[in-house]
Subunit: 287 residues, 2 copies
């Protein structure tokens, strides 16, 4: 059985480190979708999301779904997310469910089973470390039990301007985010693949390249999921600081930049999505 | 318009501080439900949850739904949670959605709109503070915009054995959980009700009474949601350390103890739930 890390390495080797973020927002959809699906907004998400998957496929093999925007439309929204994840898998995408889950004991197990079992069937889930190691363990266990194996991306240093309020709190050995990074590095050792990386990744924002380099050194065998590139202000060069010389080690997410590089009235929206994915992938590869 | 804090105070004055936690687990349901709904497990949750709401109503006015267990059953599970929240509201329950959400900017807004808008229509949502103040702000804004007003319970000190791994990390002025507590106390000042409490509550486990007392002093006007009573080992006396002399200030959750005080084969399960709620409420009131 191929390891989680090797599956992700294959996706990056084949198509590059770009992760297409699908964060559907009703008011940003092409006007034709808003008109056609005015009475079934979740269906608009499904049809639009499919189009994005199709348009980005030549330039990216990794997709991240933002659960919040689907949850906003209730059961129908969740149905849309389920359909899109299945569609993405059929197209060969590596699928990340960005739900930032975190809870204890059997509740954490339930979230993990939802993420990795037949409910969502994602390759990876983002999780929040605030509740400590025994709240992360159930996610790791479920990820390693699944076939094929799944993985996690633990929030270490987030890309929002105020992310440091607690993450930067320093004790004598370093800030909180470094403690979380050390824990991630240690959890990650439990399932190292042939590519040299493991199955407990880290979310590290692209908006502070200095921290990105520091954390790259602190977690040499950890896959990074780097948000903040594009709309949030991080440049491709900033994000590349997360990659190792082998070209692996980091995937870089762009959501609004990939999904909505157009105004709702723009008839050329398909071409703009295609072009945005092509441009982002080239930039991230340093071409 | 009645404030969030006063609405909660009314519920506690009327029925006491017990919060009934609905965490449905398929394998724990009465055997008759497992048989009848073998092909539609989410419907079993709806019917069983309704029964729990009905049985506990004489002894509690507050209910907490654990989103993970509903999410595990996908769109049908979410439909069940939606139905049960509506049912709980119609019965006059104060409804907490325990989803421990946390994300940045417009994503946080989407989660908050889902929680407080027509999707879930909960009175309160549990949220995770790891991402900092600008990630909590959108939740506060949406809560205060809603009619009636809604509120939050921010994770401060969780009840799991390993909760201290990061929460206890100390800088020169105190551990992380105290920094989070100070932030909660300050956010909470934005909407103090006539009862003297506000709308940004704190989740503080009952499993460490010393910390519970410390945090009670640090956040005198903050509503506490206290998990860990019952199945997790906290006693009623431990939990009462979270209450202020006015009898307000804390609600105490019991999930497994309320929802599953029986074996699946036990034909007397309804009486056992009724009795468990009665006993817990009396204990928590110090009767």
């Amino acid at each position: 059985m191929q390891s989680f890390a090797d599956l992700l390495a294959d996706a990056v080797r084949q198509n590059g480190p770009l992760c297409v973020g699908i964060d559907p927002r009703w008011e940003s959809l092409p006007i034709s979708f808003q008109q056609k699906f005015a009475h079934a907004p979740a269906e608009a998400f499904t049809h639009f999301g499919r189009k994005v998957l199709e348009l980005c496929a030549p330039n990216s093999g990794i997709v991240k779904f933002q659960a919040a925007f689907f949850e906003l439309f209730g059961p129908a929204g969740m149905q849309s997310m389920q359909t899109l994840i299945q569609d993405a898998r059929e197209r060969g995408y590596f699928v990340i469910l960005d739900a930032k889950r975190g809870d204890i004991a059997s509740t954490a197990t339930a979230y993990a089973q939802a993420a990795f079992g037949s409910t969502w069937n994602a390759d990876a889930l983002t999780v929040n470390p605030y509740l400590g190691a025994d709240a992360i363990e159930p996610f790791i266990q479920e990820a390693r039990k699944a076939e094929p194996q799944r993985g996690l991306f633990v929030l270490v240093r987030t890309s929002n301007p105020g992310g440091g309020l607690f993450q930067n709190l320093k004790n004598e050995t370093g800030p909180l985010y470094r403690h979380v990074a050390d824990a991630v590095a240690s959890w990650n050792e439990g399932a190292i693949g042939e590519c040299g990386y493991g199955d407990v990744g880290a979310v590290v924002g692209a908006t502070n390249p200095h921290e990105l380099r520091e954390l790259r050194e602190a977690m040499p065998r950890v896959w990074f999921l780097v948000p903040g590139y594009g709309a949030q202000g991080g440049t491709a060069e900033d994000a590349r600081a997360a990659m190792r010389p082998d070209g692996l080690g980091a995937i870089v997410n762009s959501s609004r930049g990939m999904t909505f590089p157009f105004q709702p009235e723009d008839a050329q929206w398909e071409a703009r999505i295609q072009h945005a994915a092509q441009k982002a992938q080239a930039e991230l590869r340093g071409e």
